[in-house]
Symmetry: C2
Subunit: 134 residues, 2 copies
């Protein structure tokens, strides 16, 4: 598996945990040593790991925890730091997301997430060739 | 100047170029070697340097090129990669932004930008102690 594929695999694991409303999996994906931040759309920026995990707990425990799918992920590598940009499909609406990961051995751990509004993607977005997952 | 201060200095240079509608300065801030991406709110993701520079040209050449100010910037360091999160004040509206930089000698070059909706920040946001600029 190439480094880009490993990075995209870990990005996909984040969205699988999000879709399953699996807080333990979310907790295992966020790095425990490096500085972290999370910019949920419409929320104040979160800059502690505790606040970030609690934000996912609040989303999962809310009255309507959302379905979420990641599409068209693209990996950008900067040595031991990787950035993934992708579309998120949430209840039929599209967002664009930035996910920043740091490399820890064979794994990539999440250190930053932002999602926000975007244009509706083209219909063939799932066919992005470099994405082995979607 | 610490690495965090240098990173924040270069982040501030990006917003000064943006505020001045200075396309040449914007062009000098985006890295020329590493992969780049830009997620303007409501736009399709841009993943080539040419498309990114052209997007700023279109913004600056538009009928109402926006005033923009950066507030409350915070630097997150991952070796030779730095992430800055900050508020953007555009025509009195607040966005939250992610800017990713790679270190090139004493400079940090921009490789990724996303801005999107956020909660209105607290009034004392300009007093963030680690930010030497605002």
């Amino acid at each position: 598996m190439s480094e880009k594929q490993a990075l995209l695999f870990n990005n996909d694991a984040f969205y699988q945990a999000f879709a399953a409303h699996d807080l333990e999996a979310i907790d295992n994906i966020w790095d425990t040593d490096a500085p972290v931040a999370c910019l949920h759309p419409g929320w104040a920026p979160l800059t502690t790991r505790g606040d970030i995990i609690n934000s996912f707990a609040a989303i999962f425990d809310g009255p309507a925890p959302p379905d979420i799918t990641c599409l068209g992920a693209q990996a950008l590598l900067y040595g031991a730091v990787g950035v993934v940009i992708c579309y998120e499909v949430i209840e039929g609406n599209f967002l664009a997301a930035t996910n920043v990961f740091v490399q820890r051995g064979s794994k990539w751990m999440l250190v930053h997430h932002q999602a926000g509004p975007t244009e509706e993607p083209p219909e063939d977005i799932t066919k992005t060739p470099e994405n082995p997952i979607n």
